[in-house]
């Protein structure tokens, strides 16, 4: 309907790979539609030009976090990036921090393995139904907005450049969402300090700049959780207190 009145075409360049490490950009022409997002263009290619193009998407409403990619070198959700916000040519590539599977699809399964290591929610004894104040809910709510798009993992230079033993921003946000749960009893400082390698984060805040949910990852989660780990493991006052007990 809309593409009849407007025949304007846009150019989109998509990285094609079979997942073996080699690949190249291929150019496609796609009819422009009002208010179109990058995912619309990529799906057009997939449905009408080359059905073998591998791309992950699901809700198309920025709620599921499936269609993560690098659009002109910026980690973004394809479903949320409007074409009219991009100047010049559009280049879409898979997330670089993860192993490629095919074209725009990457293997993000390591994230579920990390999730398994985070000590799970363990509530204190309390009369049911629980009484919880909204103020306490608000503290954890921000972290629970995470849609697990893993763009923060993708942009994180510690993960990208050093492959250090750092679990990455998403998982610190997860730990924070549990730590700030008003009924939780678990001390995750050991996990943060050892398995999570939270000390490796040097607070460049790249992750919070690109979070599509606007979570203040560094300010509100990582720094708080760093303090939790530091208090427990590197604060001489804590050692003394611990000895006295």
């Amino acid at each position: 309907m809309d593409d009849v009145k407007e025949k304007r075409m846009i150019e989109i360049s998509i990285y094609r790979t079979d997942g073996t490490g080699r690949g190249e950009y291929k150019d496609y022409e796609v009819p422009m539609q009002e208010g179109m997002v990058v995912l619309d263009a990529v799906r057009y290619v997939q449905e009408h030009i080359d059905t073998t193009l591998a791309v992950r998407w699901n809700c198309k409403a920025a709620r599921c976090g499936s269609c993560s990619a690098e659009i002109n070198n910026m980690p973004k959700l394809m479903c949320k990036t409007r074409i009219d916000t991009i100047n010049g040519k559009i280049r879409v590539a898979p997330m670089g921090a993860f192993k490629g599977v095919a074209d725009l699809v990457t293997d993000i399964s390591e994230n579920y393995l990390i999730n398994r290591q985070i000590p799970e929610f363990s509530p204190k004894e309390a009369a049911v139904p629980w009484k919880i104040m909204q103020m306490d809910v608000e503290r954890t709510k921000e972290f629970r907005k995470c849609i697990e798009c893993f763009l923060c993992q993708d942009v994180c230079h510690v993960i990208r450049e050093h492959k250090a033993d750092y679990v990455g921003p998403r998982h610190i946000v997860k730990a924070a969402s549990l730590d700030m749960h008003p009924m939780d009893t678990v001390d995750r400082s050991g996990f943060l300090n050892r398995e999570a390698g939270i000390g490796y984060c040097n607070v460049t805040k790249c992750c919070q700049d690109i979070c599509p949910e606007g979570i203040k990852i560094t300010d509100n989660a990582i720094i708080q959780e760093k303090e939790r780990a530091v208090d427990r493991f590197y604060d001489p006052l804590f050692w003394r207190k611990a000895k006295k007990r």
Binding site: M1, D2, Q33, E34, G35, M36, V37, D40, Q46, E47, H48, T51, T52, L53, A54, V55, R56, W57, N58, C59, K60, A61, A62, R63, C64, G65, S66, K80, R82, V101, A102, D103, V105, D107, I108, S109, Y112, N115, R116, E120, F121, P123, V128, P129, W130, K131, I132, M133, Q134, V137, T140, K141, R144, K145, I147, E148, L178, H181, P182, D184
Partner: protein
């Protein structure tokens, strides 16, 4: 090959809740999911879980929730399922909270509940407008911290049945292109709905009726397939976002509907409940206003919440704010949203036993949107999240109880080989599956829409038959690994089953009831207080009409009796 006591297809709320039950009963579980873990359609649920915990309105209790469900389901829902839902939902909500979900609170620290269409009291326990995300994350965490194996991005192509009993399922692992055979004593299907068979839908990519078709091809019965819910408010602009859900919470929190003449038209259609009448009523009102030309520039009516103020909106509806800001460039704290009906939910689905969720095939169980019965002719908002938790648990319990003392049945290897051949065979020169899917969705949109008539429906049946015929000639290039086109071929077959059962059932029901509205039979009629059941008979679809059982006295006393106009 992978063996477990229980196999679950679908990693949404129902599937994961079922897994938790089965694990609790000491069984091992494999979960297979078409999308990644945590991306299932549950994540899209916004408004909340309907449960009569009575934290906001003290007078609420299970009997009122039960009556609301039966009445708004227009009396063809399974009253036993409605009773179970109403009684169990509060405990499922408290339990979810103990699993780690964090709900919004009342000033005295209880669970906050909001008003929703068709619910007598404020009943929806919620987390802002992201309740589904909270549910799926909570259940996912719980499941991930067990030995359960989750096979994500594995697409099940066929169920194998031997001597009338389930024995295994064949899946294609997208990441590797390998075929995986899942053997289990019992199977739970929790694959969600089929909204993608319509052009304009709030449903995500994966809602292509896979579970429906798997069960149907395995011999299970489908029921109430004509009942497709149109949500009153979907986005209309930009084109790429058309159909995207605008949560009912907007109306629940005080949003009003206006036409282009700035008239609050719901006062005409439903003077008492207004915007908060059941979804079928509001969706039809929106449809008629748009049809009469009293609509905005993009063919929608207006939904306005701006009078509530920025602070309120940002707190209660942050997701809606960013959805409109980012996709449409509309600031809902200042201006109205333009909305129109969008396909949202299938009330029908696999016919199940209300207590155990058993289907008509031994060893196969079903729960969630893919199952039928609970919602009848219309689903209340918030009842689907209650549904997945309540019946997800019951399916897990039902399946584990059933499998007690049973062994795994070995599948016929030649059948497995034949199925692998069928899938491989789509890799050939042929028609583009997406073209046919597009055509199918247009047929459904144009002829099986919100207001139907006999001529249109017969036309739809013909056109679907024609697409079915041409679907024999589809084919795609590439290999088995992450080949979306191949998936399109497989999905098309399932979508055809969904469309055939919807259109055939709809054409049979000669009345208007709930979501099924006919211009040639505009009245509700007592002789149609029935359920229409479909099943596969050879290569054809056969139907039967089953009278709805009368509600027993001990439950009937809570429900206002059904009244029919003459005609």
């Amino acid at each position: 090959m992978h063996e477990s006591d229980l196999l679950i297809i679908g990693a949404g709320g129902a599937g994961m809740r079922a897994a938790i039950s089965a694990l609790g009963n000491g069984h091992n579980v494999n979960i297979v999911s078409k999308s990644l873990i945590g991306k299932a359609h549950t994540v899209m649920a916004e408004g909340g879980i309907a449960a009569s915990v009575g934290d906001v309105d003290k007078d609420d209790n299970w009997t009122v929730h039960f009556a609301d469900t039966v009445v708004e389901g227009v009396y063809i829902g399974n009253w036993r399922m409605a009773e179970i839902l109403a009684k169990d939902a509060p405990e499922r909500v408290y339990e979810l909270e103990r699993f780690g979900a964090v709900f919004d609170r009342t000033p005295d620290g209880k669970i906050m509940q909001r008003a929703f269409g068709g619910h007598t009291y404020r009943r929806l326990c919620h987390v802002g407008d992201k309740t589904g995300l909270e549910i799926i994350r909570t259940l996912e965490d719980k499941v991930l911290h067990t030995d359960t194996r989750i096979f994500d991005e594995v697409y099940i192509t066929k169920l194998f049945v031997r001597n009338g009993r389930f024995c295994s399922a064949l899946g294609l692992e997208m990441r590797t292109g390998e075929f995986l055979l899942f053997k289990a004593k019992a199977l739970i299907i929790a694959t969600g709905g089929c909204g993608r068979v319509y052009k304009i839908t709030s449903n995500s990519w994966e809602s292509t009726g896979d579970g429906l078709a798997l069960a149907y091809n395995a011999g299970a019965e489908l029921m109430d397939m004509e009942m497709i819910q149109f949500h009153p408010t979907g986005m209309v602009w930009p084109p790429g976002a058309k159909g995207l859900l605008v949560t009912e919470s907007v109306r629940g929190e005080g949003g009003i509907l206006l036409n282009s003449k700035h008239e609050r038209f719901m006062l005409r259609y439903s003077p008492e409940k207004k915007e908060l009448d059941a979804r079928d009523v509001v969706a039809r009102a929106n449809y008629y206003e748009i049809k009469a030309g009293r609509c905005g520039p993009h063919g929608g009516v207006y939904l306005d919440i701006s009078h509530k103020g920025r602070g309120f909106i940002m707190k209660k509806l942050p997701g809606m704010y960013s959805q409109f800001k980012e996709f449409a460039g509309v600031d809902i704290t200042k201006e109205a949203m333009e909305v129109a009906p969008t396909v949202h939910y299938q009330m029908g689905g696999i016919r199940v036993n209300p207590y155990t969720c058993a289907t008509s095939v031994e060893g196969i169980f079903a729960a969630g949107e893919v199952a039928s019965g609970l919602h009848g002719a219309n689903r209340l908002g918030g009842n689907s999240l209650a549904d997945i938790l309540v019946f997800g648990k019951l399916a897990g319990d039902g399946a584990t109880e059933w499998m007690d003392g049973k062994e795994i049945v070995v599948p016929d290897e030649s059948e497995v080989a034949k199925e692998i051949g069928r899938v491989r065979n789509f890799i050939r020169n042929g028609l583009n599956p997406y073209d046919l899917i597009d055509e199918l969705a247009s047929v459904m949109q144009n002829y099986m829409g919100i207001v139907r008539n006999g001529d249109d429906m017969r036309k739809a049946i013909d056109l679907i038959g024609n697409i079915r015929k041409r679907s024999e000639d589809i084919g795609v290039s590439g290999g088995l690994k992450y080949n979306h086109g191949l998936l399109g071929c497989l999905e098309l077959q399932n979508m055809l089953v969904a469309c055939e059962s919807i259109s055939v059932s709809a054409n049979i029901r000669e009345e208007s009831r709930g979501a099924h509205t006919r211009s040639d039979f505009p009245k509700r009629r007592s002789e149609w207080k029935v359920n229409i059941v479909c099943r596969k008979n050879g290569e054809n679809l056969s139907t039967k009409i089953v009278r709805v059982e009368e509600i027993p006295e001990e439950l009937a006393k809570y429900v206002k009796p059904e009244v029919y106009e003459n005609g």
